[in-house]
C-alpha cells in the first residue's frame, strides 16, 4: 500500500514539474484597455452596445505568438484614478494600462510609467516598410501629451471630440438654425427660453463639461496675448508656460480678460436646467433624450448610443463649439480660428506600467502595443466601437462620426482646459468655485478672485514638479 502511494506521489511530482516547465515558458501579459475597448462579453449587463473590442487584436497576436498569453483586466469598479494609484503604488497594475494623459504626466518621477520615446524611435515590425513607430501616428494629438520632462509616456490611437447635440425637431419648430458664432448660440438659447424650453442640459457633478466650455472660451479671450505665454513658439501652452505666466501675473483669472471669460460662461449656464451643479452626465443626457432640454454638450462617445436609443423620438444633430468674436466681447478680435479642443484625448490611450518594468516584460509589452497600433489591427477595432476617430495613419474612421470629422482636423487648441491647465487639484477647485458663481451663490468677480488664489498655489506645485 505504502509503495503504491509512493509511486503515485512520484508520478504527481513528475507531472507537476513538467507542467510547470511548460507554463514557465509561456509569457503572460496583463492588459487593461479601458471601458471602450474591453470586449462587452467581459462586462455582462453593463454594455449599451455589444462590441468585440480588443478581442480580434488579442486573438491574432496570440496566434502569431503561441508562447504568449494575454489576460484582460476587466473594467474596475469605481473611480479609475483611485484604482490606478493603488495598483501602481502596490506594483500590481496591469502591464499595459489605459490611462488619462494627465495622469501619466502628473506621475513623473515615480517610475510608474515607461518612457516610450526609445521604442517610438524603433521600427514597428508589424507595419510594412515602417522605420519609426512614431511615424505611424498623426503627431499632433500625440505631441500634446509630451510630459514636462520631454518624454512620451503613452500612445494615443484615437481621439474623441465634443460638441453640441441639438434637437433638430425642436429647432425646426421654433425656426432655429445651427449657430455660426457664440453670440447666435446665445440668441438661440434666449428664443428657446422665451418659448419655455430649457436650452441646455448641463452637469456639474464632475469637471468635464464645464472645463470643455471654459477651455473653449480661454482660447478666444486669451488669443490676443498668446505670444506672452508661448515661450517656445509651438502654439501650445504647456503647464510650465502657464504656471510661469500665472506667477508673473501675465495670465490671471481675476484680470479683465479672465473675468470677462467667466461672465460669458455664466451667461450660458443661465440657460441651463435648474440644479445643474449636482447633475451628472447621465442625467444631462436623460434630459436631452426626453426632450426636457433642446441641447446638451457631450462627446463623440454618445453618438451611436443616441442614434440607436429607442427612447429617442426626435431628429438630432451635432454642431461644433461656435467661435467667439467681437459680438460676444470687445476683448475678442474677429477672425480667431477654431481649434481642435479635444486634441490629445481619446479612448485608446495606453501606457506601459511599472509591473511590466519589474516583471521584465517591457519588450513584450511594447511589441504588443506595436502590433495593436498597426493600422490593419487597430483600424477595424476603432471603427467598430465608433466612439472616437483614429489617430493612426491608414485607419478609416466610423462613418457615423462624420459630424466630428471637420473639427478634429483643426490645429490643437493652444490653451488647455481648466482641469488640465495646471494640475488635478486645481481642476477640482475650479469646479467647486465654478459651480458657486455659475449657480449665482457668489459673484463672478468673487469667483475669479478665489480661482486666482488657487491658480497661484497650483502654479507653485507645477513649477516644483518641473524642478524635480
Amino acid at each position: 500500500m505504502i509503495r503504491r502511494l509512493s509511486k503515485c506521489l512520484v508520478l504527481v511530482l513528475i507531472f507537476t514539474f513538467f507542467t510547470q516547465l511548460i507554463f514557465a515558458q509561456q509569457k503572460e501579459l496583463n492588459i487593461y484597455v479601458g471601458g471602450t475597448y474591453t470586449p462587452s462579453r467581459l462586462m455582462p449587463g453593463t454594455a449599451v452596445r455589444e462590441v468585440k473590442g480588443f478581442d480580434p487584436i488579442v486573438e491574432k497576436y496570440q496566434k502569431l505568438h503561441p508562447d504568449v498569453k494575454i489576460n484582460y483586466v476587466k473594467q474596475p469598479m469605481g473611480e479609475i484614478r483611485t484604482w490606478l494609484v493603488t495598483q501602481l503604488t502596490g506594483g500590481t497594475a496591469p502591464d499595459i494600462c489605459w490611462t488619462q494623459p494627465d495622469f501619466v504626466n502628473e506621475d513623473i518621477g515615480k517610475g510608474w510609467w515607461l518612457n516610450l520615446d526609445p521604442y517610438l524611435e524603433k521600427p514597428n515590425p508589424y507595419v510594412k516598410g515602417n522605420k519609426r513607430w512614431y511615424d505611424t501616428f498623426y503627431p499632433g494629438p500625440l505631441e500634446v501629451w509630451r510630459a514636462a520632462d520631454g518624454h512620451l509616456y503613452m500612445i494615443l490611437g484615437d481621439q474623441v471630440q465634443v460638441g453640441f447635440y441639438y434637437n433638430k425637431t425642436m429647432f425646426r419648430k421654433y425656426g432655429l438654425s445651427v449657430p455660426k458664432n457664440w453670440a447666435s448660440l446665445m440668441d438661440i438659447a434666449k428664443k428657446l427660453k422665451n418659448n419655455n424650453v430649457t436650452p441646455f442640459a448641463m452637469w456639474g457633478a464632475d469637471l468635464h463639461q464645464v472645463t470643455w466650455l471654459s477651455g473653449w472660451l480661454t482660447n478666444f479671450y486669451f488669443w490676443p496675448e498668446i505670444e506672452k505665454y508661448d515661450k517656445d513658439g509651438n502654439r501650445w501652452i504647456s503647464k510650465t508656460e502657464i504656471a510661469e505666466a500665472i506667477k508673473k501675473g501675465t495670465f490671471a483669472y481675476d484680470s479683465e480678460r479672465g473675468i470677462a471669460r467667466l461672465k460669458t460662461l455664466k451667461e450660458m449656464y443661465d440657460y441651463a436646467q435648474r440644479g445643474f451643479a449636482s447633475a451628472n452626465e447621465d442625467l444631462a443626457k436623460r434630459l436631452f433624450l426626453t426632450q426636457q432640454t433642446a441641447m446638451t454638450v457631450t462627446g463623440s462617445w454618445w453618438l451611436l448610443d443616441l442614434t440607436n436609443d429607442p427612447l429617442r423620438k426626435f431628429d438630432f444633430g451635432v454642431f461644433y463649439f461656435p467661435v467667439l468674436d467681437s459680438k460676444t466681447s470687445p476683448l475678442i478680435p474677429d477672425g480667431v480660428p477654431p481649434t481642435n479642443k479635444a486634441a490629445g484625448y481619446g479612448a485608446l490611450q495606453l501606457a506601459v506600467t511599472n509591473s511590466a518594468i519589474k516583471g521584465n516584460k517591457v519588450d513584450l509589452a511594447t511589441d504588443f502595443l506595436m502590433f495593436a497600433t498597426a493600422p490593419q489591427n487597430a483600424g477595424p477595432v476603432i471603427k467598430e466601437t465608433g466612439t472616437a476617430l483614429p489617430t493612426i495613419k491608414g485607419c478609416t474612421p466610423n462613418p457615423a462620426l462624420k459630424p466630428f470629422f471637420e473639427s478634429i482636423s483643426y490645429p490643437a487648441a493652444p490653451f488647455q482646459e481648466d482641469d488640465s491647465l495646471l494640475d488635478n487639484e486645481f481642476g477640482e477647485k475650479f469646479l467647486a468655485v465654478a459651480n458657486l458663481f455659475l449657480g449665482g451663490s457668489i459673484s463672478v468677480e468673487e469667483g475669479a478672485k478665489r480661482l486666482q488664489k488657487y491658480a497661484e498655489e497650483a502654479a507653485d506645485r507645477v513649477l516644483s514638479l518641473v524642478k524635480k
Binding site: 473611480e79 457633478a205 435648474r274 449636482s278 426636457q292 469646479l431 467647486a432 459651480n435 451663490s441
Partner: protein, 299 residues
C-alpha cells in the same frame, strides 16, 4: 508578565494559538496602516517618494479652504446625527417595547431592521432621484401643494448640506433601535412592576426608569455615531462631490481627494491623524464624563 500568567498561557496554549492568525491579520491590516499614517503625516509623500517635512502638512490644513469648510460641515452633520440617533430610534424602541403581544413586537422589530440589508449605495441613488430638481419625488410633492419655486436641493450651496442630512428619513436606524431594545429588555420586570405600583407610568416611567437604565447604550451610540459621522464621506462623494463649492465637503472626502486625486498622501495622512486624535479626545470625554454609574445608584 508574572509566572502565573506564563503558566496560564502555557496551559491554554492551543487557545492562544487559535487567536494568533486573527492577531497577525489585525496587526497587518489595522495597526500597520495606523502606524504608517502617523509616520507619513510628517512627510511629503506622493505614493512613492517620501520626504520628511515636519509639521508642514499640519500648517497647510489651516490654509486649506476645503479642509476648513469640511470641519464646519462635519460638525453640523455630526450634531444632527447625534440628536437624531439619541431620539428617534430610542422613541421607536420604547414604543415597540411596550407593545402588547410578542408577535406584533417581533413584526415591528423586523420592519425596522429589514432596511439594514439595503446597500447604502442604493439608498443614496434613491435619494438622488428624490432630490432631482425637475422630476424628483420631493419637488413633485411640493408642486402638488402649489409650491412653484421649489428648491434645487443638492444643486444649491444653501440647501445641499441640509439635503445630505435629510438622507435616511425617518432616521430610525435599525442598528440603534436593536441596541436600545436590547437595553430595554435587560431592565428587570420587577422594576416596572414597582414603578407601576408607585404610579410611575408613561413619561415618568421613561424618564425615571428607562432612560437612566439605557445610559450605557446611549454612550455606545454616541461614540458609534461620532466615529461614523466623522469618517463618513460616501453621501457627499456620490451625490455632490463635496459641492457646490465646498458646501458639502467633509474631512473624509478631503482625505480621499488628496490621497488619490492630488497625489498628496502625506497631507491626507496628516488630516487622518488629526481626525483620529479628535475622535479619541471626544471618546475619552464621553467615557469619562458620561457615567452609567449615576443611573445605577439612582435606580
Amino acid at each position: 508578565m508574572n509566572g502565573k500568567a506564563w503558566r496560564d498561557v502555557r496551559k491554554n496554549f492551543p487557545i492562544y494559538l487559535f487567536l494568533l492568525p486573527t492577531f497577525i491579520l489585525v496587526i497587518i491590516f489595522s495597526y500597520y496602516p495606523i502606524i504608517s499614517a502617523v509616520y507619513h503625516a510628517f512627510t511629503e509623500w506622493d505614493g512613492v517618494n517620501v520626504r520628511f517635512n515636519g509639521f508642514e502638512n499640519f500648517l497647510s490644513m489651516i490654509k486649506d479652504d476645503a479642509f476648513i469648510a469640511s470641519l464646519l460641515n462635519v460638525i453640523k452633520l455630526t450634531l444632527f446625527s447625534e440628536i437624531v440617533a439619541l431620539t428617534l430610534p430610542l422613541l421607536s424602541a420604547v414604543i415597540i417595547f411596550h407593545l402588547i403581544g410578542e408577535r406584533i413586537k417581533y413584526f415591528f422589530r423586523v420592519l425596522f431592521v429589514v432596511p439594514m440589508v439595503v446597500p447604502y449605495m442604493v439608498i443614496l441613488l434613491i435619494w438622488r432621484f428624490i432630490y432631482d430638481p425637475l422630476d424628483g419625488l420631493l419637488n413633485r410633492l411640493l408642486m402638488s401643494f402649489g409650491i412653484t419655486n421649489t428648491p434645487v436641493w443638492l444643486g444649491d450651496s444653501k440647501t445641499a448640506l441640509l439635503s445630505i442630512m435629510l438622507i435616511g428619513f425617518p432616521w430610525v436606524a435599525g442598528f440603534n433601535l436593536l441596541i436600545y431594545l436590547a437595553g430595554l429588555d435587560n431592565i428587570s420586570p420587577d422594576l416596572f412592576d414597582a414603578a407601576a405600583i408607585d404610579g410611575a407610568l408613561g413619561l415618568k416611567r421613561f424618564f425615571y426608569i428607562e432612560l437612566p437604565s439605557l445610559l450605557g447604550q446611549i454612550k455606545l451610540i454616541v461614540i458609534m455615531t461620532l466615529i461614523t459621522q466623522l469618517q463618513a464621506f460616501q453621501a457627499p462623494l456620490i451625490l455632490t462631490n463635496g459641492g457646490p463649492g465646498f458646501s458639502t465637503m467633509v474631512p473624509g472626502l478631503v482625505i480621499y481627494q488628496n490621497a488619490f486625486h492630488f497625489n498628496r498622501m502625506g497631507y491626507a495622512s496628516a488630516i487622518g491623524l488629526v481626525l483620529s486624535i479628535f475622535i479619541l479626545i471626544l471618546t475619552i470625554i464621553n467615557m469619562r464624563y458620561i457615567s452609567t454609574e449615576v443611573a445605577v445608584s439612582e435606580r
